[in-house]
Symmetry: C2
Subunit: 169 residues, 2 copies
């Protein structure tokens, strides 16, 4: 598997910073980043499978509903929802559309500013979300369980991940 003739050696670039101590299999940031990307793909698949099987929604539907539920009154300006989810306004429009169609979310006009439309969780939406939540928690637990980490490591992972989650949050 390890290739004899290939390694496209890095050009003699200076990025190998003077490191007085040995680190042959040292922590490779690129490798770590690629692992993270891979891990996420796996996670998303499992959530999508579980959530769509039981509740007919995708992970991204679920996270939209979840964020909404965390906002006061279960409603947010669509632009703020986008920001909170790390999406564009466009992504929110398209993602919310099917949820409105099936009655989990409604569109509400803002009293003073006709430009803004709130997205609001309906009572049904709240109900359905709470069912989804138990499924989602189960999946999350299952995903991490076979790793056999002590609970501490889960905390560690969350902590390490936090600064990477984007500009703000």
């Amino acid at each position: 598997m390890t290739d004899p003739q290939t390694d496209p050696q890095t050009s003699p670039q200076t990025d190998a910073q003077a490191d007085p101590q040995t680190d042959p299999p040292g922590p490779d940031p690129l490798d770590t980043a690629l692992r993270l990307v891979r891990a996420q793909a796996t996670l998303v698949k499992r959530f999508d499978a579980g959530l769509s099987g039981l509740h007919g929604v995708s992970l991204s539907d679920f996270t939209m509903l979840l964020r909404l539920s965390e906002a006061p009154g279960g409603r947010m300006r669509r632009v703020d929802l986008a920001e909170a989810l790390g999406l564009t306004a466009s992504g929110v429009t398209r993602g919310l559309a099917p949820l409105e169609r099936i009655g989990l979310v409604t569109r509400e006009a803002a009293p003073r500013d006709a430009r803004v439309a709130y997205a609001a969780l309906t009572p049904t939406g709240r109900e359905r979300l709470s069912e989804m939540l138990t499924t989602a928690r189960q999946i999350a637990t299952d995903v991490f369980t076979p790793t056999q980490w002590p609970p501490n490591d889960l905390t560690t992972l969350a902590t390490l991940l936090t600064p990477l989650t984007g500009p703000r949050r």
Copy 2:
């Protein structure tokens, strides 16, 4: 505007779930999983921006080339490449097409089995990849740098992530 209408439920982790015994305020697996998803989205954006700006390829183009370069002779059956990348065969066909068009990869027939088509890195591909590699390493380093973790934490992260990266690898 923030008008805390009386709305009980909807704390990140209180309601629903008939959980007979409550765990102490332990680490929340769901929250951790969602953080991971978010972190990846941010990462992918940074890699895509950097790689496409300098080399005109996406992160997924890059990872395809990278895996190819790790295989003996820089060539793999397309189905094995799919497996190694966690994609479907279909995804590989579509992803490789533009790379073939610009001459970084070629299609090679297998001598004994006419069903299989190898994907092989061209000399140009190898060259261009090695330039991309230095960019990618730089980005990876930049991504983790502001976290100010000791290098150990990077290793820890990689280790924690590994069991999550999928069925095999």
